[in-house]
């Protein structure tokens, strides 16, 4: 079963897609033409990458007049952060804190 996390992690596991997200982070709400202008890649190639990002929920498109604008959606990254990164970071911090206590007790 492919979970939401799988899709997000897979989408992030590509330098072109991370580049596209970074461009949207700098300036959000861009058109395909605008995003394409910063990459040495065919329009079709960029569209394919944007499709993967959209399927993972990392990019949301909205129409504005005749233009289709691409927005960075940071919520899936937040969810991965809360689920995977915070958890292990806290464990590492508490492991270090325990080590400190143990070492200090030995010295005393």
């Amino acid at each position: 079963m492919v979970t939401d996390d799988d899709r997000v992690i897979k989408a992030l596991a590509d330098p072109t897609r991370r580049f596209l997200l970074d461009r949207l982070f700098v300036r959000d709400g861009r058109t395909l033409t605008n995003l394409e202008s910063e990459l040495e890649m065919t329009r079709f190639g960029v569209m394919k990458h944007l499709r993967v990002l959209e399927d993972a929920g990392l990019v949301v498109t909205r129409r504005s007049g005749r233009e289709k604008l691409h927005f960075l959606n940071p919520v899936p990254i937040r969810l991965i952060h809360d689920r995977w990164i915070d958890k292990y970071r806290e464990r590492r911090v508490s492991a270090l804190a325990e080590l400190k206590t143990e070492l200090e007790e030995e010295m005393a």
Partner: protein, 173 residues
């Protein structure tokens, strides 16, 4: 550069998929007994009709935090006005943050909630925040001031909302 492109830059879009009905999500956004359980934990007051007032009174926790830091806290944290209410699908309103004099001075911004069924008991919640002329508030909503204790912005609030609706418990437990 066209006007649409300029507007786009100041708009923030957030989307989250939640295993809940549109009605449950609508209630979690518009009812105080729900809003006090996630995000900043304020109890919202909505009159869900065009022109109806919206406000979030300052929570005791916020007042206490403000007093500890020696910062005066207003009685209302956020205010605005309902523009469109179509339960449980679409809510459009104005939104102004009063906790900080700089964001208060930036005035009202425009917030749209869209809720759609997405199959398999999952609903899609999209939040569009139009932040033209409100760079300070935009930074706050993007979570850029999280390290100062100002909260992780909409990503944090929506991720907390998802956790609450799916597990019955928010991060704060």
């Amino acid at each position: 550069m066209t006007t649409t492109t300029q507007t786009a830059v100041t708009t923030q879009v957030y989307r989250v998929y939640i295993k809940a009905t549109p009605q449950a999500i609508w209630d979690a956004i518009t009812k105080p007994e729900w809003t006090e359980r996630y995000g900043f934990g304020g109890r919202v007051e909505y009159e869900l009709r065009p022109g109806g007032p919206y406000r979030v009174p300052t929570t005791e926790a916020m007042k206490k935090a403000g007093a500890e830091m020696g910062i005066p806290t207003p009685d209302v944290m956020v205010d605005g006005e309902v523009i469109e209410a179509d339960p449980p699908r679409r809510l459009v309103q104005t939104w102004r943050m009063l906790m900080d004099q700089e964001t208060e001075a930036e005035g009202f911004t425009r917030l749209t909630y869209e809720i759609e069924e997405s199959g398999g008991g999952v609903s899609k919640l999209t939040l569009v925040h139009e932040l033209e002329g409100a760079p300070k508030l935009a930074a706050l909503c993007a979570g850029e001031r999280e390290a100062e204790g100002a909260g992780g912005g909409w990503s944090w609030v929506l991720s907390d909302l998802k956790t609450l609706l799916e597990t019955g418990q928010a991060f704060r437990g």
